[in-house]
């Protein structure tokens, strides 16, 4: 399952790291950045809403349970950034993980 395979989880996390570093200041910009990289287009307003919503829910969860954020971030050997907020990075990872599992991402035309 592409959602759970550790290789995908690690890839999502590294993708999230890059997104936070290079994707701009706002979450909306970051989502656009990730969409450009993954799907070659920007996200629509509706699409952003879905992802912003998901991000908010998960950020709250990771803030309430910091240990779980750490667990997500240590899947795979790729190094973590020197400075990172675990809850935020974990939440961003759930975003990128979602993008990597989109049909549009998986299916190459």
């Amino acid at each position: 399952m592409l959602l759970n395979d550790p290789i995908y989880v690690e890839a999502a996390r590294v993708f999230a790291q890059q997104m936070l570093a290079e994707g701009g200041k706002t979450l909306g910009d970051q989502i656009d950045w990730a969409y450009e990289r993954a799907l070659g287009r920007s996200a629509s307003v509706d699409e952003k809403n879905v992802l912003v919503d998901l991000h908010a829910k998960n950020l709250a969860r990771f803030r309430a349970d910091p240990a779980s954020a750490q667990q997500v971030l240590t899947v795979g050997d790729a190094p973590l950034p020197v400075k990172s907020n675990p809850a935020e990075l974990a939440a961003a990872t759930t975003l990128t993980r979602t993008i990597l599992n989109l049909h549009e991402m998986i299916t190459r035309n």
Binding site: M1, L3, N4, D5, P6, V9, S44, D46, E47, V50, L51, D53, L54, K57, N58, R61, D65, A67, S68, A69, Q70, Q71, V72, L73, T74, V75, A90, T94, R97, T98, N101, L102, H103, E104, I106, T107
Partner: protein
């Protein structure tokens, strides 16, 4: 107020019909199986079977050393095979070679009150002889493995047609929402041939791909990565999948690619399987006596373990369970080969039948045992048999099939099905019939044809129906 009245009337109107039907059905003593969750709803006629467990013996088991005793062949051992049998017939690797009669390499015995005759290396199947119906007059058109698998699975040699499991899930729907409707598992045992079986054999073909068979691993976790990654709670997973599906649904609105709907359904199923699969593998409540009956060590990749899993899958509402057991392709060494295979399949096959019977599930579970073809009465490599299509044996049990009888026969030398021949299409028509489906009426329009599992032929084999 007005709207509420309308809704109430509509509810009552529908309910009266609904309650009436339920009452009628219970008065008739039938389970209310006239409706299904598939496209065939209501069913064409009352179903006898609700599910199928197909114990597929891949490689082509020799009927002459399993279910078809041929004393005349023993008498003719070593003599040239009479040309009247073989002239003009298809032949595989024995092309151009001398065709010599090769007597049965194992002994046969009668079992049970029904006295059905089978090879004495299968005493456990013999012990359930009164539950099964042996069909000795199967025949097929394809003499090589892959095309033969293809026609046995899909009713056609054209690649891309739906497999029988897909047809059945399409027609009847799945009884379980937490497991796929069509599950495939494989085992090899000894023999080392490890012939590949293409995933196309359980493909949905031209049907929506959500009806394709899902292969579960036989060793270890049936499905890889079924557990959430560390730190991802069930809630996060649920919300993530919801997000994926919602975004995919938006894409579907834009491009209307039906594969997207399949993708959505698969992710939904994947989420449910995260709970249902570990539950499936949890043998802690399985009595030791049951494990002993199968001779199974759960999750060890054996046919026995798969049979036990098949029963559990059946209990959980999986519609079509197909177990492939490999290495029956005895071009050489058929005597020892059959003994090895018997030691792997005899006990678990019988255990599955008994287990289902004890649970009151045999009556509505159709069990099928057999492979893609049989083997030649002529010898190959001095001690083996080549592929053979004109006559071979299957057995069936449960699900509305007759019990304790043998049906059909091959000629004296076990070459051709001469009495009550059963083609692949006939067999499929009969299976569908027991599931409540008229094979002529479950069709899909494709390339200008009304495509169905049975192609353009197929007669229900009434003689094997209870």
């Amino acid at each position: 107020m007005h709207e509420l009245n309308l809704k109430r009337r509509a509810f009552l109107g529908k309910s009266c019909a609904g309650f009436g039907m339920a009452a009628l059905n219970s008065m008739l003593g039938q389970a209310a199986t006239s409706t299904s969750k598939g496209v065939i709803s209501p069913l064409h006629h009352p179903a006898r079977a609700k599910r199928v467990i197909f114990l597929y013996q891949a490689g082509g088991p020799s009927h002459l050393e399993t279910f078809d005793s041929k004393p005349r062949l023993a008498e003719m051992h070593g003599k040239t095979m009479p040309e009247s049998f073989t002239k003009g017939q298809q032949i595989a690797q024995l092309q151009g070679k001398p065709l010599i009669c090769f007597g049965p390499q194992q002994n046969f015995k009668r079992f049970g009150k029904s006295g059905q005759e089978m090879c004495d290396l299968f005493p456990h199947i013999g012990s359930v002889s009164d539950e099964i119906c042996i069909i000795r007059s199967m025949w097929t058109e394809q003499i090589n493995h892959d095309p033969a698998h293809t026609i046995m699975n899909t009713g056609s040699i054209i690649a891309g047609r739906p497999s029988m499991g897909s047809w059945m899930t399409y027609g009847l729907g799945a009884e379980s929402e937490d497991l796929p409707g069509f599950v495939v598992m494989m085992s090899s045992g000894r023999g080392g041939q490890n012939q590949p079986i293409a995933a196309r054999q359980w493909s949905a073909g031209i049907l929506p791909s959500k009806y394709q068979g899902v292969k579960f691993n036989s060793v270890g976790d049936p499905v890889l990565y079924v557990r959430n990654p560390p730190g991802i709670s069930k809630d996060i997973q649920r919300d993530s999948i919801d997000a994926v599906n919602r975004l995919n649904q938006k894409q579907y609105s834009a491009v209307e690619d039906p594969e997207i709907q399949t993708r959505i359904a698969q992710y939904e199923m994947a989420f449910r399987m995260q709970a249902s699969v570990p539950d499936l593998m949890d043998m802690s409540k399985e009595p030791a006596s049951v494990l002993e009956m199968y001779g199974a060590k759960p999750g060890d990749g054996s046919f026995a373990s798969n049979c036990l899993l098949a029963r559990r899958l059946a209990e959980k509402g999986v519609r079509f369970i197909q177990l492939y057991h490999r290495d029956w392709d005895h071009h050489g060494g058929v005597k020892d080969g059959i003994a090895a295979k018997a030691s792997e399949v005899d006990r678990p096959t019988a255990a599955l039948i008994q287990d289902l019977k004890q649970r009151g599930m045999l009556d509505d579970t159709l069990i099928v045992w057999g492979g893609e073809f049989g083997r030649t009465p002529m010898s190959q490599s001095g001690d083996g048999r080549d592929h053979h299509i004109k006559g071979f044996s299957y057995f069936v049990a449960g699900g509305g099939m007759q019990r304790g009888i043998s049906y059909g026969a091959t000629d004296d030398l076990g070459y051709a099905a001469v009495e009550n021949p059963v083609s692949v299409h006939d067999f499929h028509a009969t299976m569908l019939h027991l599931l409540g489906v008229d094979h002529l009426r479950m069709t899909v329009k494709y390339q200008g044809l009304d495509v169905r599992l049975t192609g353009v032929s197929g007669e229900i084999v009434k003689g094997i129906l209870a």
